[in-house]
Subunit: 399 residues, 2 copies
């Protein structure tokens, strides 16, 4: 087996769910270079006591098994791949990735979307609430978030039907029809493994006990629907038609070298959010957004104001319980520079500055047939690259 550093090299070892033409059962796999290890039979062969944790048609059981099991399984995999005699025995359980169909990796319990990038919130504030402070007064006191629709979180590769909805025209007329401002949001998602009981907040240090890993999220957004509906109770149909996630969940354990201090806080934080004394959970993930193959943005998450640990501490501060499979996402990741903005509404500045693509076409928002691929990687130890894979979706015309 190759030990060359690829995005899915031995330092990454992400988990997903796959099937093949010859074995159509959905089952847990680990990506290794351009292969997928069929995890259940491999563990059954070499460490049968752990087999129940990786059995079944999704990651749900592994997620629920908790951090000790996560560490054990990862240590086993790392050991096996380093040991030539063992890795030879894994051969029969390796499948070429190109032969696999990848599925939604876990059952999404609740889905929460945050708004953690200051640059994104500032850009959106300028466009949605012109003439007011772009950041609302609460923005630097708490990670703003809202619940999204868990039932419409879909696997990467699922086509996205252009949503219809109500929007208000510039003439003030209210009409119903296909969204004319269909957008993307490039985000990082956090996947909860260990549940928590009702009434018991999870503190900053609890992040590593409760969160299994990260995935990529494209939070498709219909800006015209959203702009008309979202006051006073927040986004609803402008978001709920679909949210795509990447097939591979990268464990937190692979991201040790990607941890960076978050930006300096300009407003003092309440104790439950104050991470100044804690090891930081800022993450240096470098994303790339491609539209029909052309790179249109390269957002980086290292500038995100709120960390995943802070989002979780806030989400549970009121005693809300966690379930295995809860997914919470960062909100659009946007950097300081125009080429680092994670949504088209920012890249085209509300549609006023069309993007010119290398194929000669221009875009403000998405056309039918457009394909968006968001990919990402993070730094590992010793120059190794940790891959987060990609999340992909193509726009189909409204029905």
């Amino acid at each position: 087996m190759s030990t060359v550093s690829t995005p899915f090299g031995v330092a990454t070892l992400p988990y997903g769910v796959f099937s093949t033409a010859s074995d159509q059962r959905a089952r847990v796999g680990v990506a290794i270079d351009d292969l997928i290890l069929d995890l259940a039979p491999a563990v059954q062969l070499l460490a049968p006591a752990l087999a129940p944790a990786v059995a079944g048609p999704s990651l749900d059981t592994l997620l629920a098994a908790g951090p000790q099991t996560w560490s054990q399984v990862r240590a086993l995999l790392t050991g096996w791949l380093a040991d030539g005699t063992v890795s030879e025995r894994l051969g029969p359980h390796l499948v070429p990735a190109r032969d696999a169909v990848l599925h939604l990796p876990f059952t999404v319990a609740d889905y929460v979307d945050f708004y953690a990038s200051e640059q994104h919130a500032t850009n959106l504030g300028k466009m949605f609430r012109p003439g007011q402070d772009p950041l609302t007064p609460n923005w630097k006191h708490l990670p703003i978030g809202y619940h999204g629709r868990a039932g419409t979180v879909v696997a990467s590769g699922t086509d996205i039907v252009r949503p219809c909805g109500q929007r208000r025209g510039t003439d003030g007329d209210i009409t119903f029809g296909p969204s004319q401002r269909l957008d993307i949001e490039a985000e990082l998602g956090f996947v909860v493994g260990t549940p928590s009981p009702l009434g018991r907040p999870v503190d900053l240090a609890g992040f590593e006990r409760h969160v299994f890993g990260v995935c990529l999220v494209n939070d498709w957004s219909a800006r015209d629907i959203q702009a008309w509906e979202y006051v006073p109770l927040g986004p609803f149909l402008g978001k709920s038609f679909a949210t795509s996630i990447s097939p591979w969940v990268v464990p937190l354990a692979a991201l040790g070298s990607a941890r960076v201090p978050p930006p300096a806080r300009t407003v003092p934080l309440l104790p439950y959010l104050d991470d100044s004394q804690a090891p930081p959970w800022g993450l240096d993930v470098r994303l790339e957004v491609r539209l029909n193959g052309h790179v249109v943005s390269r957002p980086r998450s290292d500038g995100m104001y709120w960390t995943g640990a802070q989002m979780l501490a806030h989400l549970t501060a009121n005693g809300a319980s966690l379930r295995t499979g809860d997914l919470y996402a960062s909100g659009t990741i946007s950097g300081e520079r125009p080429g680092e903005r994670g949504s088209l509404i920012e890249l085209s500045w509300g549609g006023t500055e069309p993007l010119r693509l290398p194929d000669g076409t221009t875009r403000t928002f998405l056309d039918d047939g457009d394909e968006i691929v968001i990919s990402a990687s993070a730094p590992g130890a010793d120059g190794v690259v940790i891959g987060l894979g990609e999340v992909r979706g193509r726009i189909r015309p409204a029905i």
Copy 2:
């Protein structure tokens, strides 16, 4: 068996999940007067072909079985109860309701809360956005809603721990601590049975195919947390600590005589929401809110601007799919008169007009130890009363 008209008489036949000291398995039951019919063995005995639909530890299977099965099971029950010889054979499967523990009746998939009462939205608008139009410009064009936390929907009787959170004092200081403005919201919940695929809206006529029945909802709300957090993305931690639902789900089939025309629409509706030509799905449900046993409000749902059918058509207008177990609620039901307001923030007008209880105490918001019981009934045929049971919860001190 008694055929006297009680709220859970033969015209109601609500479904729930119960267990007993002598048989601790959670199982499907039907309430009949002060008895519960253990449905699975009864159906196994008398109509075994339908037994799989009512087996298992929750209503999930029955909900998923669809409207034809719902009708068949209800017709069987009605027939059995009218037939003395059959109802005698049911005897061994009847349990006194007082001996049963009632559970969360179904697995909540996504939870959406609407804002369908004009009086409530007007009252809240006046208090949350003084000096502006109380109704936002979109309010009469679409049923405003947002997603809540499905994982913290709890069974009636579950104690509610007072949530902590951030709030902004009148001096502008931001502090963290137990909510000082803990409130209730008396609502009607709609329980989805039949799923729908992504990309396929459910029209107004689809309501009866997709919605199995209704329950009562207490959408506990921490007003101080909510007021500080909710701009711009809507309510989050002010709501997500707990939402209580009643144990008995009353099928739509029991509510035929409670259907009433909704209020006159003062703004023309887009076709997908226009119910002027359809049989109306306004509902005349009469609620009663008791605080420590004292009635503090009697809201009625017949004045609600948006119907359950309109809420569902809107929720899916963008192609969002439905799952079995989706729950959507009306939002607080408030009438024109002060004694018909469904939340304490309205009853005490933002805390400025304390309620005086018959026990000599006063309330603006909830004290630790307070118990709230919301009960309801609806008119049936020939003067019969259709009971919706009750949803109950007591406040425990913050941890």
